[in-house]
């Protein structure tokens, strides 16, 4: 890495809740994450785990009714949760950018790709139309879209899924953000295209020193591209470690259960998958104590009563929310 690493985005004890019809439901609970320049942080979790909402709320683009209830999001000296909407908007897209899951719905079908990129550029930079167009073509080249001079005037439906995602990435990096958040960027794509898109993101990260946050549920992608990993469950972080430490020495039963439940190309096929028993957590009715306890193979009598918090197991490098973390073993 040619760029010295520093903390770009510092999320401190962030809590987010939605006002339901009868009460407030906590969706994210005391989440702390540091995103460092030049590194890829993978954020892993299933639907409802809060992994996407954390970042939507941090950037001020959470859906209606969803609000930050406590915590801070520090970025370049400002607390994003306290900024007024205009200031926040100017940070979005410029300093911190987000790429969403489904390229087809994230792009406006009635405007050409070029128009949409140019719109982003001219909204934040004092460029003439000609200058913006030249920049847009440059950006398309950078994301390896072939024949950019011609394709810049094409409409989203004329692009394939992989190219649309690249176009979105082009829009996201147009203003040279220091943090790029990619929310399930490849779920809607074929596996061969997935690999290409992620290579592109890694390459961009290398070139610019920006931080990449990869929100995903695919552990294979995490293994290949991440430097550090944070695992989410029921709105909180249950484990956080370097990618090697997480995969070779997981310290939370949920992480272990995830490994056991996913089919892999290299595992013996005569062993049945070990499903995680029970149902995904209902955030409106979480049990007391550890939220994973009802489904945990290691659950003990005190797991239902003690409030969990992240425990530092090795020198700030490996955090686990399981108080019995030392007993978590990994068998393959």
């Amino acid at each position: 890495m040619s760029h010295p690493s520093k903390v770009l985005l510092d999320i401190q004890q962030l809590s987010v809740a939605v006002s339901g019809t009868q009460s407030t439901i906590p969706l994210v609970h005391n989440v702390s994450l540091q995103i460092n320049s030049g590194e890829t942080l993978a954020v892993v979790g299933e639907s409802g785990s809060g992994k996407t909402l954390t970042f939507l709320a941090a950037l001020g683009i959470a859906p209606a009714g969803v609000k930050v209830t406590s915590g801070e999001v520090l970025f370049e000296g400002d607390d994003l949760t306290k900024l007024n909407p205009n200031a926040l908007r100017s940070k979005r897209g410029t300093a911190i950018s987000m790429v969403f899951q489904d390229p087809l719905s994230a792009l406006n079908p009635v405007f050409s790709i070029g128009t949409q990129i140019i719109e982003v550029l001219r909204a934040h930079l004092p460029l003439t139309k000609a200058q913006a167009r030249a920049r847009a073509i440059e950006l398309l080249e950078r994301v390896h879209i072939p024949d950019p001079h011609r394709r810049i005037d094409d409409y989203p439906h004329q692009f394939s899924g992989g190219m649309r995602q690249r176009a979105l990435i082009a829009m996201a990096i147009a203003l040279e953000p220091r943090v790029l958040i990619a929310d399930e960027p490849t779920t809607a794509l074929d596996v061969t295209v997935q690999a290409q898109v992620l290579e592109l993101l890694s390459q961009l990260r290398e070139e610019t020193g920006m931080a990449l946050v990869l929100i995903t549920h695919d552990l294979g992608l995490v293994a290949r591209h991440a430097d550090r990993v944070a695992v989410f469950y029921a709105g909180r972080i249950v484990e956080q470690a370097s990618v090697q430490a997480l995969f070779h020495e997981p310290r939370h039963p949920y992480t272990v259960s995830l490994f056991r439940t996913i089919p892999r190309l290299d595992s013996p096929t005569n062993i049945a998958l070990t499903p995680i028993v029970g149902q995904p957590p209902n955030l409106a009715k979480l049990p007391a104590g550890c939220p994973f306890a009802p489904r945990c193979y290691l659950a003990k009598s005190d797991c239902g009563s003690i409030q969990t918090k992240l425990i530092d197991t090795t020198n700030h490098e490996h955090l686990s929310a399981c108080q019995h973390w030392s007993e978590v073993h990994q068998e393959f």
Partner: protein, 349 residues
């Protein structure tokens, strides 16, 4: 256990399907999309045949043609030894009892306005099963998928995604069919629930001997549940064989590339693996290349062209074998062991 020596349950012979156009061997209109081209496969009793492919491969179309939910443009569908390609709607409806489908979307594939008990008993009503038996079978189907029949009066939106998928499976199994076509049955589910549903499907197969045509894009999932696997590209079956043959000794360059692109959840192993990238993007189905439809993207074509004694021609800036550019390779081999449609398949491992 799969009985590969018994007569096949389902046979698709030379199935082609063109949308918005005429049949495959005549001239096509410019809007025509050839979704499936001369696909032949057989499904045996008690086995799971995995059908994998990416966008535009035609796997979903082929699955639906097997049930005649989509009519083939040409070719024939044989079920239990009988040609059902041109069966009348009334006779086809009777056959439908023996072949059912499970869909991808657990949220959309159940009518939101019907309670679960009505949904699961609907097939029984349609096929005139007596009332007394209906309740019994409906309960049995729900229990078989691990759902409490006492909750059957509830509506789909009151259940989770995994549970809804189970409801879909219960509905498909209630008539005790001989085979199921499953179109991406777990891809919309959370990973922790996928395993539950996959194990359930496996259990059901062992208990009832039902065959599965398992259509999916996730190669790891397919590997886990299939006995045999067929790989499709742009409407063609490019390789078919036993699971171990396909995953451990793939012959077709597309299969090799596909497998190398699937990430393994192990950072050390994964970062040491070499990816074999394909050139460019997947072609479009309304403009298939001449010769082998994979040749513009095939890394092996480039490799082989470097060898001596191979007739070559230009493709853009590079050389590729003439054979690849001009002749469409046929599927060579036994489909119950390993068959591959390539002029220069990978051989040694």
């Amino acid at each position: 256990m799969a009985h590969l020596t018994a007569a096949p349950l389902l046979e698709l012979k030379n199935i082609s399907k063109t949308f918005n156009g005429s049949a495959s061997w005549r001239g096509r209109s410019s809007n025509a999309v050839q979704a499936v081209d001369q696909a032949t496969l057989a499904l045996y009793p008690g086995e799971t045949l995995g059908l994998v492919g990416e966008t535009g491969s035609g796997k979903s179309t082929l699955g639906r043609i097997a049930l005649r939910l989509i009519e083939p443009s040409s070719g024939s569908v044989m079920f239990e030894g009988q040609d059902i390609t041109h069966l009348s709607p009334r006779l086809l409806r009777e056959k439908r009892q023996r072949m059912q489908m499970v869909f991808q979307d657990p949220y959309g594939s159940l009518d939101p306005r019907m309670s679960v008990d009505k949904l699961v008993s609907e097939p029984l009503v349609v096929h005139n099963v007596e009332y007394a038996q209906r309740q019994e079978k409906m309960h049995a189907a729900l229990e078989q998928v691990g759902l409490d029949p006492a909750l059957a009066h509830r509506y789909p939106h009151e259940f989770s995604g995994g549970q809804r998928q189970r409801i879909g499976i219960a509905r498909a199994m209630v008539l005790d069919p001989a085979f199921l076509v499953l179109d991406e049955p777990v891809s919309a589910l959370d990973v922790s629930i996928q395993a539950q549903v996959l194990n359930l499907l496996h259990e059901i197969q062992i208990r009832t001997g039902v065959s599965y045509l398992f259509i999916a894009h996730d190669l790891s999932v397919v590997r886990h549940i299939s006995h045999r696997v067929a790989v499709m590209y742009l409407g063609r079956i490019v390789e078919i064989g036993t699971r171990d043959a396909i995953y451990n000794r793939p012959k077709h360059p597309y299969t090799v590339s596909l497998l190398s692109a699937v990430p393994i959840p192990d950072p050390v192993l994964e970062r040491a693996r070499k990816r074999i990238p394909l050139i460019g993007e997947i072609g479009s189905a309304n403009n298939t290349p001449s010769g082998c439809r994979f040749h513009p993207r095939c890394p092996r074509a480039h490799e082989v062209a470097q060898q001596k004694n191979i007739a070559i021609q230009k493709l853009g800036a590079t050389d590729i074998p003439v054979l690849c550019a001009t002749q469409d390779p046929a599927l060579v081999g036994s489909d119950t062991e390993q068959a591959c449609a390539c002029h220069f398949p990978h051989e040694t491992f």
